[in-house]
């Protein structure tokens, strides 16, 4: 594959963004009727729909936890979401991402309120253009809120990459493929604690510290958009009920 030049000399990225600029992000809450809570996100060309069921009876029952609610997350990609057809069978990547997505949301949920129950989080990636786990986490925390699951905080997530020697915020697919590193991070913004951190690629210690700083700023921007979507949603809900 021929490499494209991704950043111009004046620091403009392939899709016209500045180095520290997010793609256009649009959250929509309550998009599904059957799920207890749901959210749809368009994050650049990344499109993900998240549905939340529960707290509901654990199935199978022996998996129920005596002292808290069991959180399950399932991250899946549709076969048409990527360039080449992806087998619908779960890949090792999807299994790992399901685990880290669950672990990034779990700290925000008051699981101890609902012992012996389960909350299921299903994230279906309809189109993937990089940062899908970050988009899924951010949308899932809105879907959880929509389901009325008590939360300590929202979870906001974004990825920072090193591309052509520069750190860039909110990695799209092309940058991920050609870049030197990718570091997805998730934050509970008002608690200022990290719930997801992964990294691959080569970074110096100094670059890593800068990446964390940039990711934190990005997460705060995502947080603002999540709050906006929540306010918008509950405005319409209260109108409907009135």
């Amino acid at each position: 594959m021929e490499k494209k030049k991704l950043i111009t000399d004046d620091g403009i990225r392939y899709d016209g963004r500045k180095l520290d600029e997010l793609r256009p992000i649009k959250f929509q809450i309550g998009t599904l009727k059957n799920a207890d809570g749901s959210a749809y996100v368009e994050w650049g060309r990344t499109k993900i729909i998240v549905g939340v069921f529960g707290p509901r009876e654990s199935h199978p029952k022996h998996l129920a936890l005596a002292d808290r609610c069991r959180i399950q997350a399932l991250y899946r990609m549709t076969p048409f979401s990527v360039e080449e057809w992806k087998s619908p069978a779960p890949s090792r990547r999807e299994t790992e991402l399901s685990k880290v997505i669950r672990e990034s949301l779990e700290p925000a949920i008051f699981a101890e309120f609902f012992p012996r129950t389960t909350v299921d989080i299903f994230a279906e990636v309809l189109q993937a253009d990089g940062s899908t786990r970050c988009a899924a986490i951010s949308a899932a925390s809105l879907a959880l809120t929509d389901a009325g699951v008590p939360m300590r905080d929202l979870v906001s997530s974004v990825a920072v990459a090193k591309v052509e020697g520069k750190l860039v915020l909110d990695v799209m697919d092309l940058e991920d493929k050609q870049g030197d590193s990718d570091m997805p991070m998730a934050l509970m913004p008002s608690k200022n604690v990290i719930t997801l951190i992964q990294m691959d690629g080569l970074l110096t210690h100094e670059e890593f510290i800068q990446s964390v700083e940039l990711a934190k700023r990005g997460c705060m921007e995502v947080y603002a958009k999540q709050r906006e979507a929540l306010e918008e949603h509950f405005k319409t809900v209260s109108k409907e009920e009135a």
């Binding site: 880290v100 590193s181 604690v193 951190i197």
Partner: protein, 316 residues
């Protein structure tokens, strides 16, 4: 494992001890348990190693397998494939069946360390460009689970790779001339050699044959002879557990049971002794403050330098 109710008395005891810098097994918070690495333990493998990290016991084996290049965009590159099995022999908590999310996560974390450090020069694993490359299978078996499987597995995988010898390849070209619908077998012959001898498909001269006519190619490991495996920067993985507000290097099973979360960081050092972070993974449902994250990486860096000295050629 995370499904167990956290023994809160044990957790409190561990946190209280940590206040005075101690641990239940007598270590300091930054001590790594005793490490014992044995290489070439399996003669039939192309590379192998066992690692004991305290009582945690892991074996890794390397096998070379010739395959069609699986990725059309990199027809001249070999493949590294890491998998892990959490077999029931290792713990009463492990069950038979396909790898669960813990085994998959471990394999992928170890894989990222090896891959991102650029340890293996995959371009040198090409046998015939576009036709045959070596896949390097690294299979990790957990034999005794006493905590910190990621570091033990990463060390075992690395040691097994470092001890590996790449087999020489016997390339058999079965030249088939396609005439009409009937394929006519013309000849079958061997081309000795392998990557190290610079064998290239185009260079294989067949009388009266064109390259399009080579329809079947099989590669076998030569009965004798090895070439050195093309290895570069060496990755070292260090895992820390966070319990309360303390960080524990190389957590024991007991510590893992009560931890909030863990952080694994891999460092790679290249020829110029330049040290870089090459992979990172947080595991577990707890949180880290940004300060704790940076402190953990700082500690991991120091510990990785210590571990690097244990690896033959690790500090090159």
């Amino acid at each position: 494992m995370t499904n167990q109710i956290i023994p809160s008395v044990k957790r409190r005891q561990i946190i209280e001890l940590a206040e005075s810098g101690k641990r239940t097994d007598g270590r300091s918070l930054t001590d790594i348990r005793r490490i014992e690495i044995k290489t070439n333990v399996i003669e039939k493998a192309d590379g192998s190693a066992t690692v004991r990290l305290g009582n945690t016991f892991v074996i890794a084996g390397v096998k070379f397998d010739s395959e069609k290049p699986p990725f059309s965009d990199s027809p001249n590159e070999g493949v590294l494939s890491v998998s892990a099995e959490f077999v029931p022999i290792a713990s009463a908590e492990f069950e038979t069946g396909p790898p669960d999310e813990n085994a998959i996560e471990l394999a992928r974390v170890v894989d990222r360390g090896l891959r991102e450090s650029k340890l293996l020069d995959t371009s040198k694993l090409c046998i015939i460009p576009g036709k045959k490359v070596w896949t390097v299978h690294v299979d990790i078996y957990i034999l005794d689970h006493c905590g910190n499987l990621i570091d033990a597995a990463a060390l075992a995988a690395l040691s097994a790779l470092l001890s590996s010898k790449m087999p020489k390849s016997d390339v058999k070209l079965r030249v088939v001339k396609v005439s009409g619908i009937e394929a006519e077998k013309i000849s079958e012959f061997k081309v000795g050699g392998g990557v190290s001898e610079g064998f290239r498909f185009e260079e294989a001269k067949v009388e009266g044959g064109k390259s399009e006519e080579f329809k079947e190619i099989s590669v076998e490991k030569a009965a004798e002879g090895y070439v050195p495996i093309p290895l570069r920067a060496i990755p070292i993985n260090v895992t820390l557990a966070k319990i309360g507000d303390k960080l524990f290097v190389d957590p024991s099973l007991e510590e893992e049971e009560v931890m909030d979360c863990r952080l694994s960081v891999a460092f790679a050092e290249d020829d110029q002794k330049q040290e870089k972070i090459c992979a990172m993974q947080k595991g577990g449902a707890g949180t880290l403050t940004p300060e704790e994250l940076l402190r953990a990486v700082e500690i991991a860096k120091v510990k990785s330098q210590e571990l690097r000295k244990l690896i033959p050629g690790g500090g090159r």
